[in-house]
Each structure stands twice: as structure tokens, then as C-alpha cells.
């Protein structure tokens, strides 16, 4: 049986996290040995871009090309995805965990009477029931969760599987969906999104600064390092609380939880609430002048030294190497 993947796009591009969800579903069909991955995309987006979702392992992309769906209107997206689910007669929906994905998946769980597991970190184990491993306690533990319904929804955490890039083009088919006025009862008035930047929740590399940087005027070296690495920039909670950096850069328990391959922390002591936001990172580098900073205990690599000395040197060394 085929698996449906709900994919998101922004500024004309399918999100990388959605491509990871397609890769996850592709591995799941390989595991069960049956069916194709069928993606569903909503709103105005280029067909060639949708065809490229095939690289991540989708055979087909259903495209509900209705401009009202370009913005992520939660109720309308839930209705449209439910119709795609029924139209292809599947029992499994996969999506990437995201601001919109979470909101849509929760409504779909009720619409489709589907057991929903979020923060999925591995392919399900189907040898005895349908057991899904999820991250809990903000990355401090995992739970094995058994889905008991026929229909299932998996909201996949970033980096759960490697991104597949060697598939062919997917066929793109128009999907017509029936949407009522009540689906559009809420209106999105404006959207503000940082453009041209690497978005923190989706970044493969993150460079974060803390109070050790002494003031917002010193963020230039963090930005230089981030630019050299192709990284997004983040910060600790105190830094966003005192307004040195915007709130959407706050990494931690009550801020953005990141799961990059490389996390570089500069001048951050490593309070447990900050660690909760970064503990899913594959590799952590800590630069701090205090050798007793608790962050070193959670790090893979560390440099004990003054950020103002180390960071410019590190940026130069990276420029020479990359």
C-alpha cells in the first residue's frame, strides 16, 4: 500500500524537512516491500519543483493547485490532506514536524481516526504490532509508542533519516479538493519571514552565541563564522530576553529546538534548559573561556579560550579549508 507524505513549500521551494519526510516514507515502503510514496502539495508552486521531489523517493506528487492554499491555513490544509488520503486509499501519512505540520497533523488525527506519533526518530518496528520510537522530555529520553488504529500518522523529527537524493523525477498530477468557506474562516493577514537566510529550525549547521559575547555589537563575528559554515545563527535565552537578538533565534527548552549535524556554541555556559534545545545535534562544539562551563560535558569538541580571540581564528581556518 502506498504512503502519503504531506509536503510544505516556502518561496517556491519544497522545504528540506519535507524532503526528509519523503525519504523516511521511501525507506518505510522499502521495509514493508510494497507501495509507492505519494506526496501531496498544496497551493501555488512550480510543477518542475514538485517533480524534483522524486529525488527524495516520491513516485508521484498530487498537487492541489489552489492559490488560497499557498498560505498555511490550518483548517483548509487539514481538509485537503484528508481528501488526498482518502482518494489514494492509503493508511499511512508521513510529514515533517513543523509549525504548520504539527497543527495540521493534530486535526487530521481526528478526521482520519488515525493514531498520531510526533517527534518520530526512527522507522517504525512492525514485527510485533506497530511500534514507533519518539523523542520525549525535550530530547532527554525516548518512548516506544504503539499505534493501535488502522490509520497512522507519523510526524518525523529532523535528521531521523538521511536525505535521499538519487531518485528520478516524480510525476505531478493535479488533485481537486472540495473546500468550504468554513475551511477558510481564519484569515492570514500578513506573513513575515526572514528571507535569504538559513532558517534556524531547519539548518544543518547552527552557530549560537551567549552572554559571553558581552553585547549585540559583537555578533558580527558570530555571523561571519555562520556565513563561512553556511549555518543559521541562534542564541541563548538570556540574550533574547535582554533583546540582543530576536526571539525567533532563542534556542532552548522554551525556544527553538534544533537538530543540526553541527552545533557550535560560543560563550554559552550550557544551562540545562539550553541543552534541552540542542541535545539532538549530531556533533556539538563548545567555545568558552570558563573550563568549568557545564556545556563542555555535553560537547564532542571544546576549546577553552576567549571567544574574541578564538572565533576570528576559527573563521579564517575554516575559510582556508572549505
Amino acid at each position: 500500500m502506498s504512503i502519503l507524505v504531506y509536503i510544505e513549500h516556502a518561496e517556491g521551494k519544497v522545504k528540506k524537512t519535507s524532503l526528509e519526510a519523503v525519504s523516511f516514507a521511501n525507506k518505510l515502503t522499502a521495509q514493508t516491500g510494497e507501495g509507492d510514496v505519494i506526496a501531496v502539495a498544496l497551493g501555488t508552486v512550480d510543477s518542475a519543483e514538485l517533480a524534483s521531489v522524486g529525488k527524495a523517493g516520491a513516485a508521484k506528487v498530487l498537487h492541489a493547485d489552489d492559490s488560497r492554499l499557498t498560505d498555511g491555513v490550518i483548517q483548509a490544509h487539514a481538509s485537503a490532506v484528508a481528501q488526498a488520503f482518502t482518494a489514494i486509499g492509503t493508511k499511512t501519512l508521513v510529514l515533517a514536524k513543523s509549525s504548520l505540520g504539527d497543527a495540521v497533523a493534530a486535526r487530521l488525527a481526528i478526521k482520519l481516526n488515525a493514531g498520531l506519533v510526533s517527534n518520530v526518530v526512527e522507522l517504525p518496528n512492525t514485527s510485533n504490532g506497530y511500534v514507533v520510537k519518539r523523542s520525549i522530555y525535550t530530547g532527554k529520553a525516548f518512548a516506544e509508542t504503539t499505534i493501535t488504529t488502522d490509520n497512522k500518522i507519523l510526524a518525523v523529527k529532523k535528521n531521523a533519516v538521511d536525505l535521499k537524493t538519487d531518485g528520478g523525477d516524480a510525476t505531478v498530477e493535479k488533485l481537486s479538493v472540495n473546500l468550504s468557506d468554513s475551511d477558510f474562516a481564519s484569515k492570514i493577514i500578513t506573513t513575515e519571514r526572514a528571507t535569504g537566510e538559513i532558517l534556524l529550525p531547519e539548518a544543518d549547521i547552527v552557530v549560537s552565541g551567549g552572554r559571553g559575547l558581552k553585547g549585540p555589537e559583537n555578533w558580527g563575528m558570530i555571523e561571519d563564522l555562520a556565513k563561512t559554515l553556511g549555518a543559521a545563527t541562534g542564541c541563548s535565552k538570556p540574550v533574547s530576553d535582554i533583546g540582543w537578538r530576536p526571539h525567533h533565534e532563542h534556542v532552548g527548552q522554551t525556544g527553538v529546538k534544533v537538530a543540526p549535524t553541527l552545533y557550535v556554541a560560543v560563550g554559552i555556559s550550557g544551562a540545562i534548559q539550553h541543552l534541552a534545545g540542542v541535545n539532538s545535534s549530531k556533533c556539538i562544539v563548545v567555545i568558552n573561556k570558563d573550563p568549568e562551563a557545564p556545556f563542555f560535558k555535553a560537547a564532542d569538541y571544546g576549546i577553552v579560550g576567549d571567544a574574541f580571540e578564538v572565533i576570528p581564528k576559527l573563521t579564517e581556518a575554516l575559510k582556508a579549508e572549505l
Binding site: 493534530a106 498520531l116 518512548a143 493501535t148 540545562i272 564532542d300
Partner: protein
Amino acid sequence: MKILVCITHVPDTTSKIQFTANNTKFDTAGVQFIIGPYDDYALARAVELRDQTGGTLTAINVGEVETEPTLRKSLAIGADDAIRVNSFPKDSFFVAKQIAHYAKEGGYDLILMGRESIDFNGGMVHGMVGELLGMPSFSPVMKLEVEGTTVKMAREIEGGKEMLEAKLPLIAGCQEPIAEWKIPNMRGIMSARTKPLKVVEPVTDETQAAASSYQLPPAKGSVKLIDKDNVAELVKLLKNEAKVL
């Protein structure tokens, strides 16, 4: 306006997470329980809105008797009364079914809760309750103003936010900076003792995706320290050993 705020009873953010009973139960030994930090934002905003517009504010929690001090704290912060659905919160679906039932019974105009609980991090209950009640649901909401029956919200998206408008009744999963956390004062703490806290039984036992066992992540190896005068060594290690560049 009738407001319902949903409260989770969760381990303090500094808690060491451990499991007992052959990794099938959370180990509560030595753990301090708190109102979920996101629920605390929802509660703070709910108190402000109740004070602005008049009306009532009810707090609800799905939990066994040990959650009552947490629910009493929400009364001390400003809720008028509280409901405890007397059961362990088995999964998001189970919790959503209980809340939807009692929310319908109470006829609330606005239902607020945290964007997610900090134990299971599902972030699903608001959407499920919304779908069960046929109300729109929004999350994560970082700003919420009520003007008559119109609600203006800011919802966080990756790398920014969207400004939304919708009509009451609706449901929102909240996060900072929707309001400042409120610390209960002595008068609040005294009055919370006598405010009504109703204990009700769950309306269904149905679950769809309950956890069966738990694991801790593998222990982290010790940090490899690199001399501050030899940053090129770090670049080499990241490239050749960690293979992350």
C-alpha cells in the same frame, strides 16, 4: 467571555529524567512538578483577558490526585475554578477526548493551552480538541488579542511569524511572548484553597498511541579539548573524524 485553560503537570525543566519498573514508568523520586511552562504563558494571558473583558476562567487538568497542587497553583495565579479529570493522561488522543467533552459541557468561548507539554512534547492536543469540537485551532501562538468576537493572533512559523484573524470560539496553543508569567501572591494563594476544584471521571478510556516503554539516550563520550592556539586542528577533526563539514 468564558475561558478554559488546560494545564499540564510536568517535571521541572531542570529535572533529571529517569525511569523505573523496567523502563515502563517515569521515576518521580526527587522530581519537582510544575505547571507546564507553555501552559503558564497560556494561563497568564487567560488571566489578563478575563480581567479585561470580564467573565470566567476555568482551569482543567487530566491527571491523578497528585496533580492537584499544580491545579491549585493555577487557581492561585488567577483561575476562578478548576476541573480535574481523574485519570493518568494516557496519550494525546485520550487527553483531547476528555478536554473536548468538558469544554463542550462548559460552552467556552476561548480555550488556551501551551503549544506542547514539556514531558511528551506532542503539541497535538489543541488541534485534536479543535477538530473534535469543530472549532479552529492555532499553534504556536505568540500574541493574542480579543476585540469583540474577533481574535487577532501572531503565530510563529519557521524563521518568522504570520498575523491571523479569526472569530470566537477558538483554541490556541500558546508560547512566549504572549504574556509574562505570573507569580501567585499571598492573597491568591489563600483564596486558591477555597476556590472550587471539581473532580470528574474520564468519559472514555480509548487511546490510539500510548507509550509502552522508555529509554535514555546513550551516554555522551567525554569532550575532546583542542588548544585555543591550534584551531586548525578543530577544523581537521570536524572534517575527518566527525565528518560534519
